[in-house]
């Protein structure tokens, strides 16, 4: 058979994966059942990415895979071989915030903050997507990210501010 048994090499049931996470090339051995979300949080200690529903319904786990946003809870880590992953930790850093992070702060676009990293990862991806100009267009494109605190109005304002190029770079 010409399929490649990904766990065969060592016979320990773990799969060898090479991923680039936030610009760093990493070699990992993962259980095939492990989600990319759990791999990021538990193995790599990148806990900025959150687990909400764990079923692709809430968007808290949103990361960028090869430049496109995806729910990391519905992706097996073992099939990410060769992929580039960007998480909220790879977007900016204290003192050097991504304009979208700065805009979320400026617009008070969160309350408890649990959904925020997913919101920001989606919002950053949206900047490169064919999203229409109106607030309703933004609401539609952001609908995969649920905010239980209901910060939606301010989230839309933050996204629109960045799209209009009005956000200051770095710390607000």
């Amino acid at each position: 058979m010409s399929t490649l048994d990904l766990a065969e090499a060592k016979g320990d049931g773990l799969t060898l994966v090479t991923m680039v996470v936030n610009g760093k090339k990493l070699e990992l051995r993962v259980d095939p059942r492990m989600s990319l979300l759990d791999c990021l949080r538990e193995n790599l200690h990148l806990t900025g990415t959150k687990k909400g529903c764990d079923h692709g319904q809430c968007g808290a786990c949103t990361v960028h895979i090869n430049g496109r946003r995806a729910n990391s809870c519905l992706a097996f880590a073992a099939v990410q071989d060769g992929h580039e992953i960007v998480t909220i930790e790879g977007l900016g850093s204290p003192g050097h915030l991504h304009p979208m992070q700065a805009a979320f702060l400026e617009n008070d676009a969160y309350q408890c903050g649990y959904c925020t990293s997913g919101q920001i990862m989606s919002a950053v991806a949206l900047l490169e997507e064919p999203c229409g100009p109106t607030d309703d267009d933004v609401r539609d494109f952001m609908s995969g990210n649920i905010c239980r605190c209901g910060a939606y109005a301010n989230i839309v304002a933050a996204v629109q501010q960045v799209r209009r190029g009005q956000s200051k770079k770095g710390e607000p």
Binding site: S2, L4, D5, L6, G56, G59, E129, N145
Partner: protein, 332 residues
């Protein structure tokens, strides 16, 4: 989640050879192809699907969108839903398909979900997804709590006394209206199946949802060229404006010439056990003027066989209005 073996297929033949050993390609398959995973991984977490082996087919190619010499389009099985929805040819010639895809799920899911995976996505019936309850689709013969239970979202057409689960796809509804064909590669054969013959009615075996057999790999979908001058729309009615499954949806495509309808096609979503088409209702529209009474007569016929349950009688009238409104919008 139950442990499984993960393999990566190097080419379609290897994927097919690996999958043919599964006793079934339907509910409970022991070997599954893994593409985007947005349905399968979810169902594996719930314990609804418990495959022993997964064949990762993400590196097989099968991800092109090509215009055909006859003016139709060929869509690779692994084309991601976002790429299909935003493709210029699809937006121009098959507008209802683009609109249907964008009306479904979220950008995160559409970026990952594939053409074939969308065709094969599973019902959102809460009993199917909850392994603590009986479900004839998940465990044949165990019963259907939905028939007297939470059935507001469920089907009124194509149902049986064993199952009233709704097919949840938006994409497949538009493809049904566009007379799509599904192309399948098997161990030593290839075949093409009209989408209208691809899905099975639940009958007494709702665990069998389509005609796929073990080792069958969907390679691509084709759409024939639309009739000259056809205009189409997808109208989806739901509980919230975005990121919600349809209560009722319609893909409607119409050609009007000299004030009369010369071609009319439509399919319904959210109301049936598979994407639903009623050819007699379409034929009724030919030669008619494109006005509300004509569309209403076709809609009445389309829903004539509807069998609502305790919570979803509202869908009968809603579906009729959805048909009428979608044709009015298509004709504009």
């Amino acid at each position: 989640m139950k442990l499984f073996e993960l393999e990566r297929a190097s080419d379609p033949a290897a994927a097919i050879a690996a999958a043919v050993a599964s006793p079934t390609a339907q509910q409970g398959a022991s070997i599954r192809f893994l593409a985007g995973g947005t349905t399968l991984v979810d169902l594996m977490k719930l314990g609804v699907e418990q495959p022993e082996r997964l064949i990762d087919i993400n590196r097989l190619g099968l991800d092109g969108i090509q215009e055909q010499t006859d003016g139709g389009v060929r869509i690779g099985a692994l084309v991601r839903n976002s790429d299909l929805a935003h493709h210029p040819l699809v937006k121009k010639r098959y507008a209802a398909l683009s609109e249907a895809i964008l009306a479904g799920a979220s950008t995160q899911l559409r970026n990952v979900a594939t053409t074939a995976g969308n065709l094969l996505q599973r019902t959102r019936c809460v009993y199917f997804r909850d392994i603590a309850t009986p479900c004839n689709k998940r465990e044949p013969g165990s019963g259907c709590p939905a028939i007297k239970g939470a059935n507001r979202m469920l089907a009124i057409l194509g149902t049986s006394e064993a199952c009233i689960a709704t097919n949840p796809s938006d994409m497949a509804v538009a493809m049904m209206a566009y007379d799509a064909s599904v192309h399948v590669q098997a161990v030593s054969t290839e075949r093409s199946i009209a989408l209208k013959d691809f899905y099975l009615l639940p009958g007494d075996r709702p665990d069998r949802e389509n005609v796929l057999e073990p080792g069958d790999l969907v390679t691509h979908v084709t759409l024939p060229p639309p009739p000259v001058g056809e205009k189409s729309v997808y109208l989806k009615l739901r509980d919230r404006a975005s990121y919600e499954f349809a209560l009722v949806s319609a893909a409607a495509a119409v050609v009007v010439s000299n004030g009369n309808i010369t071609s009319a096609r439509f399919a319904l979503g959210g109301v049936a056990t598979r994407p639903w088409r009623v050819p007699e209702a379409e034929r009724m529209l030919i030669g008619q003027v494109p006005t509300e009474p004509s569309f209403r007569r076709a809609a009445d016929l389309a829903l004539a066989e509807a069998k609502p349950r305790s919570q979803n009688a509202f869908k009968v009238e809603l579906a009729k209005r959805c048909i009428v409104e979608s044709f009015k919008r298509a004709g504009r």
